[in-house]
């Protein structure tokens, strides 16, 4: 395939549509209906518990940081607060955007709006971009949420561990959205009926940032920005670390999530911050299953999936060399072995689009 064109108006996007790749049916592991119904069942309990814990910890850490401001004792409070603000908000945005975290819709919407603000995403725009990400996961030119484009630009990845590029991209888009609604690129996946919502949400977010900035100027202190805004930078590292593992170094332009997504076993703290999205193959195959049921879904279908990476470090040990290799060889990707119990990869999926995948891209 060679050089990829990630523009929604580019040649790869057109080819994906014209070839029928975007309309193709994705591979799913067979799960009995009764089992799947049980896995999809909604409840408020787990997410209420986790949300009280999350916001309670944020209040406590912020209070500790403010109380100790000016001393070195303040640092651990802000490190902890920052990860909850700048990383846990990513998973809350994600799960509540799917509408699966809570059974009660207004609870999903409330946490979705708060999290969208903290993670610096327009709630109206990103609801649609994520729908596209699930329809057309890692189809070049079609998926607006491809985290690592090829050839890999390591500098961008490293900067984003501190949210630098995300934030630098966010504010011009925020102002543009607030003034004129979605950008031309965003209009390729946000329906016209929601353009006014994009604009209104941007205006609200912009007003909060301007208000916070004004308080910081008036008080002559960055403390207000330590609470609102800056944690998206100093606390981003965890969501970038876990987010890279979702699809990094794996195949693109395939329609089998076992080829383009990664499941990684993680420690309990990361799983709380990440809300179990470490079960990422499972999530993409069955996005209706709530985060708290993903371990059970994993147990039900793991015999049909590649073996999970056993830790974050093991995931990086697999992914990082692949990302480095993709700096020079864009077509390289990691193709994991399936267990003997699994249905084989549908090789015709790789070659669904003539000329898009080389005959033997994995090494």
């Amino acid at each position: 395939m060679g050089k990829r064109d990630y523009s929604p108006f580019g040649a790869d996007a057109k080819r994906a549509v014209d070839s029928g790749l975007t309309a193709a049916e994705w591979y799913h592991t067979d799960v009995p209906r009764k089992v799947m119904k049980d896995l999809m069942a909604r409840s408020d309990g787990p997410a209420i518990r986790d949300t009280i814990l999350l916001y309670g910890l944020m209040l406590a850490f912020a209070a500790g940081g403010i109380a100790t401001w000016g001393s070195l004792w303040t640092i651990p409070f802000w490190l902890a607060y920052g990860v909850l603000y700048g990383s846990a908000s990513d998973s809350r945005w994600h799960e509540c955007g799917h509408g699966t975290a809570f059974r009660t819709p207004w609870m999903n919407n409330a946490v979705y709006q708060i999290s969208s603000f903290m993670i610096m995403r327009n709630p109206a725009t990103w609801r649609w971009s994520h729908a596209r990400h699930h329809s057309e996961t890692y189809l070049v030119g079609r998926d607006p949420e491809i985290a690592v484009m090829r050839p890999t630009e390591m500098g961008k990845i490293l900067l984003n561990f501190f949210g630098i590029l995300d934030v630098l991209n966010f504010f011009p888009t925020l102002v543009r959205n607030a003034l004129a609604g979605p950008t031309p690129e965003e209009r390729t996946f946000v329906p016209e009926s929601d353009w006014s919502k994009v604009r209104r949400a941007a205006q609200v977010h912009l007003a909060i940032y301007l208000g916070t900035g004004a308080i910081a100027v008036a008080t002559g202190s960055i403390l207000p920005l330590m609470v609102i805004g800056l944690p998206r930078i100093y606390g981003a590292w965890h969501h970038v670390m876990t987010g890279l593992l979702q699809h990094g170094g794996l195949a693109d332009n395939v329609i089998d999530h076992r080829l383009n997504s990664r499941t990684v076993y993680m420690n309990p703290i990361s799983r709380f911050i990440y809300w179990n999205m470490n079960y990422h193959v499972e999530h993409h195959m069955f996005p209706m299953v709530p985060y708290h049921a993903l371990p059970r879904l994993h147990a039900a279908i793991k015999d049909d999936l590649p073996a999970p990476n056993t830790s974050i470090a093991a995931g990086f040990a697999e992914m990082w060399p692949a990302l480095k290799r993709q700096m020079r060889y864009e077509d390289f990707f990691v193709k994991r072995d399936l267990p003997p119990t699994a249905k084989p990869y549908r090789e015709d999926f790789h070659h669904y689009v003539p000329g898009m995948m080389p005959a033997n891209p994995a090494e």
């Binding site: 799917h98 819709p105 729908a131």
Partner: protein
């Protein structure tokens, strides 16, 4: 329009649905929480996804791909990303059989 024998009443658990294909079209047959049976088009109006793999909650069917929701009694689109209503079809029960009046 013809009434088609779609399934037995006990083929569908209460608060669940099944897929029913007929004459090249696909339908979804529901056994509602009120004990009544309902029928809609079988594919989501957002993208080409079968609703039969989705979740029924009360009188809502949720698409398994993007969580768009419809009221399966009326076909009304209730939650983004679905914007277009779902087509519904009359249903009647005769004995232990569920019949659908297809288009």
């Amino acid at each position: 329009m013809p009434w088609i024998d779609a399934c037995a009443t006990d083929d569908i658990d209460q608060e669940d649905l099944i897929r029913f294909d007929h004459a090249g079209a696909t339908y979804a047959i529901y056994h509602g929480v009120d004990g009544q049976f309902y029928a809609t088009a079988g594919m989501c109006t957002h993208e080409h996804v079968h609703l039969c793999d989705g979740l029924v909650m009360d009188f809502t069917i949720e698409c398994p791909k993007h969580n768009g929701q419809f009221d399966y009694r009326t076909g009304e689109a209730k939650r983004a990303p679905v914007c277009v209503n779902l087509k519904t079809f009359p249903v009647r029960v005769e004995g232990s059989r569920v019949l659908v009046e297809v288009a």
